[in-house]
Amino acid sequence: MENTTHTIQLTLKPGQHDGDGQRVAEAAARHLGLATGRVRSAALYTVRYPLNENQLSDFATRCLADPVLHDVRLNELTGAEGYTTYILVARRPGVTDDEGTSAQNALADILNEPLDVHTQHIFSKKLYLLENDLPETDLRRIAEELLGNKLINWLEVGRVADGIRDYTPRPGGGAEAITEVVSLTGLSDAALLQLSKDNIYALNLEEMRAVRDYFAATETQEERKAAGLPTDPTDCELEIIAQTWSEHCKHKEFAAVINYKNTETGEEKQIDSLFKTYIKNATSEVDRQLRANGNDWLIKVFSDNAGAVRINSDSLFVWKVETHNSPSAIDPYGGAITGILGNNRDPLATGIGGARLLFNTNVLCFGNPEFDGQLLTGQLHPRRILEGVRKGIEDGGNKSGVPTVNGAIVFDDRYAGKPLVYCGTGAVMPMQFAGLDSWEKKIDAGDRIIMAGGRVGKDGIHGATFSSIELDETAPATAVQIGSPITQKLAMDFLLLAARRGLLKCSTDNGAGGLSSSVGELAGISGGAVVELERVPLKYPGLRPWEIFVSESQERFTLVVEPGKMAEITALGQEMEVELTDIGYFTADGFLDVRFDGAPVAHLNMEFLHEGVPRKILEAEWAKPVAAEPEIPTATDYTETLTQLLGSLNICSRESVIRQYDHEVKGRTIVKPLMGATGQAPQDAAVVRFNFESWEGVAVSNGILPRYGDLDAYDMSAGSFDEAVRQIIAVGGKLPNLTPGDGIFWSVNDNFCVPDSVYDPASNPDGKQKLAKLVRMCEALRDATAAYCIPLTSGKDSMKNDFKADGVKISVPPTVLYSVTAKIEDVRRAITSDFKQADDVVYLLGETHDELGGSEFYALHGQLGANVPKVDFAKAKALYTLIGQANDQGLIQSCHDLSDGGLAVALAETTFGYGYGAVVELPETSLPLATQLFSESHSRFLTTVAPEDVVAFEQMLGDRATRLGRVTADGELTVRHAGKTVISANTAALRAVWTNGPVNHLLGVVSNDNLSHSNSL
């Protein structure tokens, strides 16, 4: 045993393609305009473990190196001939290093020794050698903007001739069992606020006063004395309160009293909680109607990590969508991957826990990735955010074995400060585990608290409070987390088995607020808990008790286990290599009691903790924005307009993104994002079957239309809901509750992401208008759920989506996403959007109105307009019902919903699956031609019907269907109006424009022909 630190370097053998190096060179040229010359990549592994020379050599050559690809160098860090500069990318202390962990696993296997994988012995790094002699500033740009993130990576750059500097993290010293006391007594209002800001409590003055008053109360003093705690609160106690009361966890603004004034109508009203009024009560009313009609599939709403509806007598469908915006703004990859994995944990830990994940969806809102202006301090380039988030979703979904079946990307410059990253996960859970109802969470005093999964470090400290404030240039490094999909996959496999064997009483995930939130929430069920923090396994020493309790280190679950089942569950954990730690037990004494090595660290009254937060009273004032319809000159060439729209940022193909997500693992995806013989026909919603034994499945769609909010937030919200519903209808879904006991479940998650909407004359002068927009969004949501009889089952709100730096504030437009799922009785009856056969008859279903306001067509002309599309719910419902009936009779061959770009874009897209064309004659109505072509009126579809079914179809749909023309085999799209040809285009050319649009260009996936799987043509 010699030196205990060794470095192994793997380089590619001469002649082997260095894809990694090539990508760096290309990206530096494309994104930074820097010429690197050739770039050579190498993998480095620093091993801090006693190995002799033979062991080291065996490990390097047999475990790490691929004999076909790699040369191995031991304990030398040298350059290579022809390369003058270098960039070394390492990780900062405590940052997740899956590659190092895997190497450690391999080392344990070759040594045949147990080697605790939870303590880091191997550190992986990357070394890039660059041909050109770039100055250090350029090397740093490449390092920081392309290869790493200063918050999580340690980056070394320089000239090879000066020697390559290495870096290996050295975690801090011994344990810090220090608990400090923070005195609130006698603090002025200003001092209270400063304390809140300094410690990122994100509590306002009233809340800080409530905390101060709680600790000052005589009753509290006596309780604390008895528990052995000082009069003043401990750091841990204040942190627990801050996490529990954070906007992220407590949704204080959705629970606030709002005084709303509509200056347009003069209406004034007081809203007693948006959540209660428009979401919870609306769903209760829907549930009443469902049950009255024998549809009793709504099982669990709002009260758990995810909503649950019944699929059939055996199983439940569990559905949750969340956002991860702030972390994605400062570390796009880490933010997105932890977003996915964190959202996965919600259905996994609903009820008892142990659901099987079925699919993921993602909806992303970014600034323009082609932005070429000056960035603010701390702001990342939108392109970098896009690429990082995309990669995070790829790794988070693919490595967990969960297909990403549906999604959307919306571009708007106002997302350039904070992007929106929505992650959704659907799962299936048996109705019962070992004889108990799976969706119930039951806890009794004496049940053990078990932490399962990853270890705890300083990562993610203050995530919950941090996401509850606006983002600025001082974002704390500790708020960043890196997910480990493999760690979570192990925990997920374990949870599945533990639940099925009846070993779990219930479970929850550790997300925002870490243990303080998960244990704090569960303790609400039994009425208290005792936590012994010294038992919590740490990634490295040096954490204080409060840090251990609030850390958001990822991939952890909190399990509730009856004492008698501890032996069996512990053994299962050992077999499946999932670390389980008993960290305390539940009580019923009404206190959250936290200790470290027997010494009290926190002792908080549960009632105060969960109910003590003062209620906010907020002001909202709606003034209709001044808007006018623009004069758009009549175009001479609408073919050109259509072509421009197809190549525009918000309409063009997302194929390069979609194909890097696995959308068919599990073998159950029936309608994928892109379909047809070309694999390039975009679809409206995904359809996934539940298993291989039946044809039952679920459709999933996402409705989001932020730009309409500039005209009217009510119509934006109503339209978004309708968009998601009509996408489900387009793929063959049926509305719920149309017939008694039909059992067709629908389950919707609402996700509001808005800018700071709390009025402040100085810092947020238009706060009342912003809050009024939120109120209107909620009003529309209530109306939509009532009209369609569709329940909300879970949701989330993110209230402070602003980025402030250098005196500038970038606020997101008020945005709501409706993520809709619905049961498909037989996935074989699903409908896809693309044309199926020549001579099929093309219909427009629904009504077109003079509604170009907020359209992509106007956007092309730099206009917003005024006439925002409105939803007529009654007409929409009647149409959707008829479409369902027509599909039951097999009358529909294709169906595509009309959205961005209206009829013209839909017509083009429906030809993309096979290379068909169409001849279409637009009706002569009072609407101008451009309106007919590009209006984005809601509740419309483009559908095709076989010639032999035309009579039956027209009888059924009546005047709701407008016959437009027929599908042709010649690949030409011809649109006529009033005797003239107004669009004439080759559909392959249109597809090429769409495919080679800015998104695929940006991500480097373009082709002059197309990217299609063309064999079946």
Binding site: D66, A571, R659, V665, K836, S1016
Partner: protein
């Protein structure tokens, strides 16, 4: 900690775990899972639809001797990201099979797999499973000493991709898995599927023996190196390999993701053209082939099976 679990009394059983006896000639497929493998459910479904009995078992159960591979007819390595693919796809799992001693006498699971193959049984690896078999040296294993001869690495595109491809079966291939199949459409879903053959001699030997059993082809049915028809730039346009016995077979694409006609991206148009077409997916045929082949062996050579079970 890992060692402790060997003494644990608890079996990690899947819900699919079935009875032990094999008295009726049932074909028994063992499907490994755990540590990031994630295609085990569709793999099991494929065998069940093909008429076999499928058992999903956590890798540690096999490593610690709670389940013997010798009780099964076909050993399966599904796709996924075993150990996160962090050191290169399949590398850590291959290491575990080669080096981790499963008993006091220094025996490894690889020793058992060699015995399993010598007993005339079958091994199938898909995607990550194929990568494991290649990194182990079980494929193509021309030298017979289970040493890596080729490798699979990052796609030429540098990207992970999910897309459908068309494959042609090499007529010279003798593996029962591909019997009677000429062409096959299947999805690929990988970032490291590019087969690299280190030299011309190895390339020639693979071709001469017909071990490159599946090729990516173009619209004319010819093998192609053109992206995206060949999605990763594989040498020999090769999507799958067998060993010289034909008992060991691995491929990058996912036939287990094409069990129903409705998995194909163009299913709706195709069913419009031909409403009476089978509802089975083309990928299922591979599983039906091997199940039929083994069932045939069971009926003609029952004693051999019993011998193997006594191991």
């Amino acid at each position: 900690m890992v060692q402790d679990s060997a003494q644990g009394a608890h079996k990690v059983q899947s819900e699919a775990q079935t009875d032990a006896a094999n008295v009726d000639g049932t074909v028994r497929a063992l499907i490994l899972t755990g540590f990031g493998i994630n295609c085990e459910e569709e793999f099991a479904a494929a065998y069940r639809l093909a008429g076999a009995e499928a058992t999903i078992v956590h890798l540690n159960q096999v490593l610690y001797g709670q389940v013997s591979i010798h009780d099964f007819d076909v050993l399966n390595f599904p796709g996924g990201f075993s150990f996160g693919d962090d050191l290169g796809s399949g590398v850590v799992l291959a290491n575990k099979l080669r080096y981790r001693q499963t008993s006091a006498d220094g025996r490894t699971l690889l020793d058992d797999i060699k015995q399993f193959i010598a007993n005339g049984k079958f091994v199938l690896g898909i995607c990550n499973g194929f990568q494991v078999l290649v990194k182990l040296g079980l494929l193509p294993n021309m030298g017979g000493d289970v040493t890596p001869e080729v490798t699979l690495t990052h796609n030429a595109s540098g990207r992970y991709e999910d897309r459908w491809v068309t494959l042609r079966v090499n007529p010279a291939s003798r593996t029962p898995f591909l019997k009677g199949i000429d062409k096959l459409e299947v999805p690929v879903r990988h970032g490291e599927g590019r087969l690299v053959v280190p030299d011309d001699a190895t390339r020639a030997a693979i071709e001469a023996a017909g071990l490159n059993c599946l090729s990516y082809i173009d619209a004319n049915g010819d093998g192609t190196s053109e992206y995206p028809l060949n999605p990763n730039g594989a040498d020999l346009n090769c999507a799958g390999l067998t060993d010289p016995t034909g008992q060991v077979f691995g491929l990058m694409p996912h036939p287990e993701a094409f069990l129903a006609a409705y998995n194909h991206p163009d299913w709706a148009r195709r069913r419009r053209q031909n409403p009476q077409a089978t509802e089975e997916g083309e990928g299922l045929q591979i599983f039906k082939n091997i199940v039929a082949h083994i069932a045939q062996k069971h009926t003609t050579a029952a004693p051999a099976v019993q011998l193997a079970n006594q191991h």
